[in-house]
């Protein structure tokens, strides 16, 4: 049976706390108008850790099908991230964008896409599961 080490559900406050911390840091950076590259890297790194832990936290319903969905969506997120990175490179090459996104920003796109796809698929599955 397909198994994956996941963060226990009782510890699900950890990713939420890290995400809130990241969002607050981003908000503070925007309000204070701090133009620091290191702070920008730090904000995205915090958000990435939060999103990764959220993706790897056990849901209320957890079995081999949800692990399979996780793996499929991780691959989907990776494909989207690579495409996004390539499209960005083309845009910079055509002078439509000023600079390349940083590694943290690219990773953020991958993790956000992966999480969104996973939540969407779980939502669809929960609704389809009502047929008896």
């Amino acid at each position: 049976m397909l198994k994956l080490k996941l963060l226990p559900r009782k510890l699900r406050w950890i990713p939420y706390f890290i995400l809130v911390l990241g969002i607050c840091s981003a908000g503070l950076k925007m309000v204070e108008r701090v133009d620091s590259k290191i702070l920008s890297h730090l904000v995205f790194s915090i958000l990435n850790i939060g999103l990764l832990l959220m993706f790897l936290t056990k849901r209320k319903l957890e079995d081999e099908m949800f692990i399979q969905i996780r793996l499929n969506n991780a691959l989907g997120g990776l494909i989207f991230g690579v495409t996004y990175s390539f499209v960005n490179m083309v845009f910079v090459w055509l002078d439509w964008l000023d600079s390349y996104p940083t590694a943290e920003q690219n990773l953020f796109v991958v993790l956000l896409t992966t999480n969104l796809m996973f939540w969407f698929e779980c939502y669809v599955n929960e609704n389809k599961g009502n047929e008896e």
Partner: protein
């Protein structure tokens, strides 16, 4: 791959939830297997066959396209 799970489950008078509880999986998983949206692992397929008192070959079968 197709399966007879819905027919065999109904014969035994089990609901999706009851079968899911017996197998320690979610009802969504049973629904996805019945509607061929998810192919279970060998372990889960064998557990399903055991729960429904059938051989796994009678529960799951290949299609022409497989």
């Amino acid at each position: 791959m197709k399966n007879n799970i819905k027919i065999e489950r109904t014969k035994l008078g089990l609901t999706q939830q009851e079968l899911a509880d017996l197998l320690l999986v979610s009802r969504q998983t049973i629904n996805s297997i019945e509607t061929n949206r998810y192919i279970p692992s060998t372990v889960l397929a064998l557990k399903l066959a055991k729960c429904l008192n059938l051989n796994v070959e009678l529960l799951f079968f290949l299609e022409e396209t497989d």
